[in-house]
């Protein structure tokens, strides 16, 4: 029996009132977290659950909020009506499985390409953009003071951070320079800071024909300009080829914004939308460019190498936005 399975058996008996666990399987998604699926055995029934934990239980990313905070964020979001799986247990040191938490398993589609294109999800695409706006309004309504450990970043500070990551790649990219220059010239004035999800996009949403079933991946939540979340989901990489549907390849900006304002979000600054879409392409581009160092360092996988070579996708997206 592996140490993880043994730890989960103990958690099942001592914390979840169960008789054991079965079918522990590592799911492939998630580069900075391990995601496992297993079944809790209890009174002759099998309940599917998901474990998210730090790689190897212990390796904690510098930028991530930490799994304990992530669990609290999911619970807080669920309490204000954001679709979330129930968090059933946060691992304690005595559980012997490292940092992580156990949540309910939600069935649905997370692959962005299918969400943007599949026939089965066509009904959802008619209202998904508006629903995303409503959900973001609820997230931005959470009290950031309840999460004092989260990073706080103004748009200018965020830009500086990504510029630093880009500079560290030590590889000249004239298109990125053009984008950084444009972003510096168009940086929005500071506004009221809100708790933002930070990675709210097609691919981190669990979708069914009836709409959003769960908002996943809270690991880079922070306190910042709420327009950041509204712009990120409109960024080109998350359209999965459906270029004429700016919101995640499934909807229109106007519907996203209308849903946001109707659900109590602050009036959307429509003139700042382009800034956040340019910012989004720059951000994803810088992340891709940084994969070259990860490939030469801790993760020499082919997958890493191939993601590094997706940097140019963002360069063409930036040119389409800035030099059409």
């Amino acid at each position: 029996m592996t140490p993880l399975l043994e730890a989960l058996e103990n958690v099942a008996r001592s914390k979840l009132g169960g008789d054991g666990v079965d079918n522990l399987t590592r799911l492939t998604a998630g580069a900075t977290q391990e995601i496992w699926r297993f079944e809790l055995l209890r009174d002759g029934e099998r309940t599917p659950l998901v474990l998210r934990r730090a790689p190897g239980g212990e390796r904690v990313s510098e930028t991530a909020v930490g799994l304990e905070t992530e669990a609290r964020l999911i619970r807080a979001a669920a309490a204000v009506g954001v679709p979330e799986p129930p968090v059933v247990h946060v691992l304690a040191p005595s559980d012997g499985a490292g940092h992580g938490f156990i949540m309910g398993f939600v069935e649905g589609e997370t692959l962005g390409g299918r969400i943007a294109k599949s026939e089965a999800l066509a009904p959802a695409r008619t209202f998904l953009a508006r629903q995303c706006g409503e959900i973001l309004a609820r997230i931005h309504g959470l009290d950031a003071d309840d999460f004092p450990t989260l990073n706080r970043s103004t748009p200018a500070e965020l830009m500086d951070r990504y510029r630093d990551i880009y500079r560290a790649t030590a590889w000249p990219r004239p298109v990125f320079e053009l984008a950084f220059r444009w972003l510096a010239d168009h940086c929005p004035a500071p506004r009221e800071m809100k708790l933002v999800h930070g990675d709210f996009r097609n691919g981190n949403l669990m979708i069914g024909p009836e709409g959003v079933r769960a908002v996943l991946d809270w690991e880079i939540a922070h306190v910042g300009d709420p327009m950041e979340d509204l712009g990120w989901i409109c960024t080109s990489p998350w359209r999965f080829g459906v270029l004429d549907k700016p919101v995640g390849g499934f909807g229109e900006r106007e519907d996203l914004w209308a849903g946001y304002e109707a659900a109590g979000g602050a009036p959307v600054r429509r003139d700042e939308a382009l800034f956040w879409e340019v910012f989004g392409s720059m951000r994803w581009g810088v992340m891709c460019a940084g994969m070259a160092a990860a490939f030469r360092g801790p993760d020499p996988s082919v997958e890493r190498a191939v993601i590094a070579r997706r940097t140019s996708e963002n360069e063409i997206d930036l040119l389409r936005l800035l030099a059409a």
């Binding site: 220059r181 191939v306 030099a323």
Partner: protein
């Protein structure tokens, strides 16, 4: 002179083997990674075939734009510096066209199926016609 078959030909054969045999006869993460590996080899095959001419063109444009000679890394670093400093921008003659041509040449190697690249390729073709 090295013998034949050429590197692009061998890379294409290995990519086909990974995609058609390995990916089909394995499952889960291994099958996925075999497809990723096949894509990576195809990308390298395209780079061997396309990059020499594209990079020669890029260097020629950069030399004209910057008024100096140098290697590609050096010239791109200088263009980057001038863009950052605001010494050149999209209104500088040649800059816009250079950035577009260079980016299109990168996409032709990296991600020729990328929707935005296909859209721009289509737009360029319809301009020529």
């Amino acid at each position: 002179m090295q013998d034949q078959p050429t590197p692009p030909e061998v890379l294409a054969a290995v990519a086909a083997f990974l995609r058609i045999v390995v990916a089909a006869e394995t499952k889960g993460a291994t099958s996925f990674q075999a497809r990723v590996a096949a894509n990576a080899l195809e990308m390298m095959r395209r780079q061997l075939e396309l990059a020499p001419a594209a990079e020669a063109d890029e260097r020629e444009r950069l030399t004209a734009l910057l008024g100096r000679e140098g290697g590609l890394f050096e010239l791109n670093s200088e263009l980057s510096r001038r863009l950052e400093a605001g010494e050149v921008d999209l209104s500088t003659p040649g800059v816009r066209a250079h950035l577009w041509k260079t980016t299109m040449a990168k996409l032709a190697v990296d991600q020729p199926t990328y929707a935005a690249y296909q859209a721009e390729l289509g737009a360029a073709k319809s301009l020529e016609e």
